[in-house]
Symmetry: C2
DNA sequence: GAATTTTTGAGGTACGTAAATCAAAAATAG
DNA sequence: CTATTTTTGATTTACGTACCTCAAAAATTC
């Protein structure tokens, strides 16, 4: 049987009250007595029953998710996953809410975080914007004893406790490796379709992609980056234009959103002249394109995993427990048409 | 505030005892009364507090892991993950033990399962051998009300409740797709290194691999399968022999264990003449080979995830709770040298 | 050694649920 | 209508921990 506080009391020859004082760091225990209790705890291998403790404390976890209002499939899916988690949280003693802020607006994000801080939740998960004001604000939250997890997009050199998202440099490198190997290896020219170079994830993906191509596939020429601001219409126009101008264009890496437009532009091409295409995020449209051969590979981050991981980490931090790094690592999924879920 | 049993009693105008009878399916409640209580439960949105319930019941989960004694890195890692989970389970009310059985021995596996059944655990996870006697035995365990999860290797058409492992046909197809695209596309010859065609995973991987190659890359010729019985020494000899005999061999798919031998055989080759190599399971040696370019891609199943998923599922089944399919899907990881964890 | 402060013990209540007992009430059978 | 059975209520204890109070004991100060 698992030892309880009663066992410790008996074993240490003290009362239950004293054990409680030691366990919960309350004052009024002599050093010698404290030591006796601690020895008993160690020798019996006592671990506090968190469920019973939370029940007694009437503890409830309160977490806030600060998400950007964004109409791309990924962000919509992310919000849906948070809502699903909220739906399931009825059974657990967890209250979560979603706070929506305008996308790419650091000021609005900071304002939202300040508001969140006011009602002192146990933890906050946010899709970060990598900006000094945001970093400073996160610092304040952390100082206020609130657990902070960045979601999808990280914050450089800040006091966030955890990042639930993929390594975007590695993702870009992976795309570069696949691109280099999928190409026919003669006179290759590759285009990159991005959302905006203002966003950290996109910058990092591009960085990784370019570095692998230049290191391992120096024969590949890279065209100027197309910035389509994650807009399908703009993306379509840009890709059409690029295909027209560069007849030998035989590779496209789409590292942002707006893939619907890219796919529309590609569908017109004959299968033989189709470039190798690698895109990000598995959505209805990229999935379809993968199946019918318009896209060759999709790199994906699983929004559901990210949300569940964020919640696990917030809970662990709130309890002062360690996090299982291996479990919480968000992986870069590589989907070909043969391993679709 | 979350409604409690007291709220239900008040709302339904019955006593606590009656609510308890309804909630726990005890006899002695008239249909009309039962209905009143159920309506109160529905209208208040009551969900039983599992932590409190388990505390009151003094419930402990007892699970058994039946693992093959096998000296390859993957199985050693799997066992280590189970041990790690056992180590963490101190905090939860969960008792788990590991039962080791000789590998590839259906009789021994059945005997072990029978022994396990004798002390009536709440759940059993096993690395299955796809064999009629095993299927029948699993059937008996399930009938005895024990939750059954197959781990890594599944059981066809049986009454196991869940499979915590990858789709091996999809894994083989993925390997085939990557192989077809990585090859130079002229006069390609590919060798397959397997453990044994007696094992379901290996058969399925081969099946998927061959079907993709014949569908999408018909110009690729496939040499007879080398069965190295997951032994590094045998694998090394076979690969050396194949490389000697078939000068144009430019692709190798290693779908089983014993990669250490494969890598030894490959290291002797000049980088230019090195075939495209795709292997399974990320271990110290395959990881090293990936980094130095001896292996081009590694397909992996995360043993840690499989074990944690198995435990979550066993617990859910023991509680009669639904399983979150999206969370429990074990993914086929594709590792290139650029996205190593 | 007395007065004061600090430490410890004993005991209770609470959290939300399970499970039991026994008596009271209601329904059904004869 | 009585006897019997079934249903319901009231109450209690328990799970393991937290947190509180009050008194007793021990240590410290003067």
């Amino acid at each position: 049987m698992k030892p309880t506080v009663h066992d410790i009391a008996r074993h240490a020859g003290v009362s239950l009250a004293t054990v409680d004082r030691v366990l919960n760091g309350r004052a009024g225990v002599r050093g010698i007595t404290r030591q006796k209790v601690e020895e008993a705890i160690a020798s019996l291998g006592y671990v506090r029953d968190l469920a019973a403790a939370n029940l007694a404390k009437g503890r409830t976890y309160r977490f806030s998710f600060v998400l950007p209002v964004n109409d791309n499939s990924f962000m919509i899916g992310l919000k849906r996953e948070v809502e699903a988690a909220i739906g399931r949280s009825a059974a657990e003693r967890t209250h979560m809410d979603i706070i929506e802020v305008p996308a790419f607006d650091a000021g609005a994000l900071v304002a939202a975080l300040e508001a969140v801080m006011a009602d002192k939740p146990d933890g906050v998960a946010l899709v970060a914007i990598d900006e000094p004001r945001v970093r400073a604000c996160v610092e304040r939250l952390a100082d206020a004893g609130i657990a902070i997890v960045t979601l999808v997009s990280d914050l450089g050199a800040s006091s966030r406790h955890h990042y639930a998202g993929i390594d975007n440099i590695a993702a870009g490198r992976t795309a570069g490796n696949l691109m280099g190997r999928f190409l026919s290896k003669v006179d290759d020219r590759v285009g990159v379709l991005a959302g905006s170079m203002m966003v950290r994830d996109h910058r990092e993906r591009l960085e990784g992609f370019l570095s692998v191509l230049s290191e391992d596939f120096p024969q590949v020429a890279i065209l100027p980056v197309m910035e389509a601001r994650d807009d399908a219409g703009v993306a379509e126009a840009m890709v059409r234009e690029a295909l027209r101008r560069h007849v030998g264009l035989n590779g496209i890496y789409s590292l942002g959103a707006g893939n619907r437009g890219l796919i529309r532009a590609l569908r017109d091409l004959a299968a033989e002249t189709r470039p190798v295409v690698i895109a990000h995020e598995l959505t209805t449209s990229t999935r379809e394109a993968l199946v019918d051969g318009t896209i060759d590979a999709v790199l994906n981050q699983d929004a559901g995993h990210e949300v569940r991981s964020a919640i696990r980490v917030l809970k662990a931090k709130a309890d002062g427990l360690p996090v299982l790094a291996a479990q919480e690592r968000i992986r870069i999924d590589i989907f070909l048409k043969d391993n679709l879920p």
